[in-house]
Subunit: 229 residues, 2 copies
Amino acid sequence: MENTHPQHTNRQYEEELRNLRTSLLQMGGLVERQISNAIDSLVERDSELARQTIARDAEVNRMDIDIDALCIRLLALRQPAASDLRFITTGLKITTDLERIGDMAVNICERVLELNHEPVLKPYIDIPRMAALAQSMVKDSLDAFVNNDTDLAEQVIERDDEVDQLNYQIFRELLSYMAEEPRTIGRATRVLFVSKYLERIADHATNIAEMVVFMVKGKTIRHMDKDKK
Amino acid sequence: MENTHPQHTNRQYEEELRNLRTSLLQMGGLVERQISNAIDSLVERDSELARQTIARDAEVNRMDIDIDALCIRLLALRQPAASDLRFITTGLKITTDLERIGDMAVNICERVLELNHEPVLKPYIDIPRMAALAQSMVKDSLDAFVNNDTDLAEQVIERDDEVDQLNYQIFRELLSYMAEEPRTIGRATRVLFVSKYLERIADHATNIAEMVVFMVKGKTIRHMDKDKK
């Protein structure tokens, strides 16, 4: 089948694949900015930035729909085989993860707006660290995807343990905080949720990285770690 | 293209599509049982059931991989067009949601094992209600998928508000509980997480329902509600 395409159609097809790659990276870049803006709005108690970030989620959602449509068009019109097929079906799944990461940034901003009604709880140290880590995981998982780089994907998967550890540390700290000062419970719980949202962002990046390993090696690396636990 | 298939190949193709439908329903059924077992293990403080449920997650993960492989095979060998293509690409995304719902059941069980090290906090009333609601949403979203039933899908999307409300109610209650009895903070926080996991299960079901509406109507119903907020 593939060889019956005239030359210019093949060039168009290559162009569309490149387009898909670029769009996914753009969506990833937008989602990364959403994470860093959400955390900036937390640290600087900037409700205006939080509201802007929530509004910009519509853009993330639009990109999700556009990239899905692009993938389906490629599947319908180009009938790709082998590695292209894997690339496109993985792209279809990755947009969903990116879109949900965008939702997590929105959730963080919603907690920020609530937190800003009350006095500051304490300076944030571990949360920005966790956010930077989660953000780097999102970036690297997408770079791994567009470059078929399983080494980088495996590094992302390893980094997830660091995030889990930070999340647990924050959990312990906030728990003893609440016990000592029961009137901080409302605020501390909201910070706890922010930590949870960041953990989920890292989970989504890990899922993307696992799908990349699966896409490249075609083996069921996915779920292996989880099942060992 | 489609008309060049000999008759028996078309029958095989129909068979494979039916197979995909059945497999997704089976995976959905397994995931529903995982939710109800997780909640039973919580309510009855049954650590053995919690451990069994955690172990059974390997089966959910295997089904995820198998169904993905089936979808990719169908795309590669059958080059489906129009509505079949939409059905298969939606199936690819749905398995991811089902797999993550399975993860949420595991997370609930992990909290149950921790909670069972300590005395009982209080009888659970709203949590089982929330679980039943989330479970019905998972079931109905899949039924909507296999029957192209957008009415049912829209009902699922509406039910998500009920779950969010229950989650908020549980959040308020546990917060005042912690404030009155600071030594319950550790346990109350874990119950709070269980409530969050159930909320996420309902979110996944809502995502599936939104994809069904999108698949059938081919319009960007997805994200509309969110963007209105």
